[in-house]
């Protein structure tokens, strides 16, 4: 088994209260499913939308994240899967796809000393 990071990018979370509640409940159900099937290593965290970017040799500090809003990382989760293909398959259940967002699946480098 290997570890993978799901980076949740973009996705429009606005909507009517009813739509937002349904969206939230889908996420909760999906996370539960990941947990129940033994794939959830660490549920992770949501990220605040704002931030600072520090860049260059001058270490210039600017406001706001680097990416465009539609690509912004909104949170992350660590999962456990057989291989990258299985991890990608697992991500397909994520409700972010209903809201025009996407999941970036990144293998966590295995370090064998």
């Amino acid at each position: 088994m290997s570890d993978f990071l799901f980076l949740y990018r973009g996705g429009d979370s606005s909507g009517s209260p009813e739509e937002m509640q349904q969206n939230m409940q889908k996420w909760v159900a999906w996370m539960k499913e990941l947990g129940d099937s033994g794939h959830l290593k660490a549920i992770g965290n949501p990220l605040e939308p704002g931030g600072k970017v520090v860049k260059g040799k001058q270490k210039t500090v600017t406001d706001g994240p680097y990416a465009e809003a539609k690509d912004l990382v909104g949170g992350y989760t660590m999962v456990e899967a057989k291989d990258l293909a299985e991890a990608a398959e697992l991500s397909k259940g994520c409700p972010i796809f209903d809201k025009d967002g996407f999941v970036e699946v990144r293998p966590i480098m295995q370090i064998n000393m």
Partner: protein, 420 residues
């Protein structure tokens, strides 16, 4: 039981939306309604992000309220020099010493209940037409988006948007929410009662084809009527009677539209599917409503509904009594639809011919021309007196007027009952 119950009230966000908007509007002032709506949207976004990862908290309502409260304090602090907020708060929000405690107090359970009621009264502004009042109640207090309101009323998004925007302007013309101690309280209470009654009717008899939407509208009307009832000033006999009639009608919803979405008349409904608890609650409220000297149309409609709910079958119903209740109703609040229902009751007592005569005698029959159940009733009575050809003609006209696939299927079934 798991320590964290994941089961949420199905419409929690919608209902909390109404409560939060009402509380925030009281703090910010009605003229800042849009700001209040933004804060509520923020609170939901936050809940969505946090609950995704942390699960649903033990007390989701309290979580949402606390989030809205903190955002409100931020907004007041940031904008108190640039904006004017609710005049009733005055200096209390100017000083750091009083700002937070004031907001905390305004988010107390008792204040929240009052705010919701005051918002309901504010939505029933005399300058707004009844359909607009209902749209506004659904939008603000029931958390329906403009598109959801439009879908419920089968109107276009653009027209609904326009209607709600205009209504909000009227609302914002006074800075404060309606005062429950105002001198025009009882006039406004009548308007609120009427609006809730119409909201329920829209769900019960309305044109929306989706059963889920209709059940939801009835559910919202029941919830808001309950809110009205729990306030000592608003809990008048008429309010109790409205609660009674809503319960007694809602109890029959499962029989009216069955699991496969077919519409059934009172005569063919499976009475075992009626909700007995709701019937009991309706009867209890009807008993409680029988005080004072004012007999309202709501009392009469509730009494009629109660006779139906208590009868084992259509045949065993006290139709004589129902006719006399309709007679009184016609005296208090005459309408062609009430007259049509009265004619159906007369037909039950004295046969279809007398029923048809009663229909012909209705004042303002022209107001029923677009109502599919007017020709459908004529068809029903003609069929009962063995005039299938006449019946078929009426049903065909009804079919052309049907407002939803459900109504069309229902009338098509009646046409096939007319034989070859």
């Amino acid at each position: 039981m798991a320590p964290h119950a994941v089961e949420l009230d199905e419409h929690l966000f919608r209902h909390e939306s109404g409560r939060m908007v009402a509380a925030l509007t009281r703090i910010f002032g009605v003229h800042n309604l849009a700001l209040a709506e933004d804060v509520v949207q923020d609170a939901f976004c936050r809940a969505l992000e946090v609950w995704k990862f942390r699960g649903i908290p033990e007390n989701p309502s309290a979580w949402l309220m606390a989030t809205a409260k903190h955002r409100a304090i931020d907004v007041l602090r940031r904008e108190r020099t640039a904006r004017t907020f609710a005049p009733e708060l005055g200096r209390l929000i100017e000083s750091e010493w009083t700002l937070a405690p004031t907001v905390h107090e305004l988010f107390g359970a008792h204040a929240l209940q009052d705010d919701e009621l005051r918002m309901m009264f504010s939505c029933c502004h005399p300058r707004l037409a009844e359909p607009t009042q209902i749209a506004l109640i659904l939008h603000i207090l029931c958390g329906f988006s403009v598109n959801e309101v439009a879908a419920a009323f089968l109107s276009s998004n653009a027209a609904t948007e326009k209607r709600i925007t205009r209504a909000k302007k009227v609302l914002a013309s006074s800075k404060k929410l309606f005062e429950l101690s105002a001198t025009d309280f009882s006039t406004r209470l009548s308007a609120v009662q009427r609006a809730l009654y119409l909201l329920f009717n829209e769900g019960y008899h309305g044109a929306s084809a989706q059963t889920a939407v209709r059940v939801e509208l009835c559910g919202e009307a029941l919830r808001l009527a309950g809110l009205l009832r729990r306030h000592p000033l608003a809990s008048t006999p008429a309010t109790l009677a409205i609660g009674a009639l809503m319960c007694l009608h809602a109890a029959r919803l499962p029989g009216r539209v069955d699991a496969s979405g077919e519409l059934h008349t009172l005569f063919e409904q499976d009475r075992s599917s009626w909700d007995k608890e709701l019937i009991a609650e309706g009867q209890r409220l009807l008993d409680l409503s029988a005080t004072g000297s004012e007999l309202t149309e709501y009392h009469l409609e509730a009494a009629i509904a109660s006779l139906h709910a208590g009868a084992r079958s259509a045949e065993e119903t006290d139709w004589e009594r129902i006719v006399s209740l309709y007679d009184t109703l016609m005296a208090i609040r005459p309408s062609p639809v009430v007259a049509l229902n009265r004619a159906i009751a007369i037909a039950q007592c004295h046969g279809p011919l007398r029923g048809l005569e009663a229909i012909r005698a209705i004042d303002g029959l022209d107001r029923l021309v677009a109502y599919p159940f007017y020709p459908a009733t004529l068809g029903e009575l003609e069929l009962r007196r063995n005039e299938p050809e006449l019946a078929r003609g009426h049903f065909s006209r009804a079919l052309a007027l049907a407002r939803s696939p459900m109504e069309r299927r229902f009338i098509a079934r009646r046409i096939s009952a007319c034989g070859e």
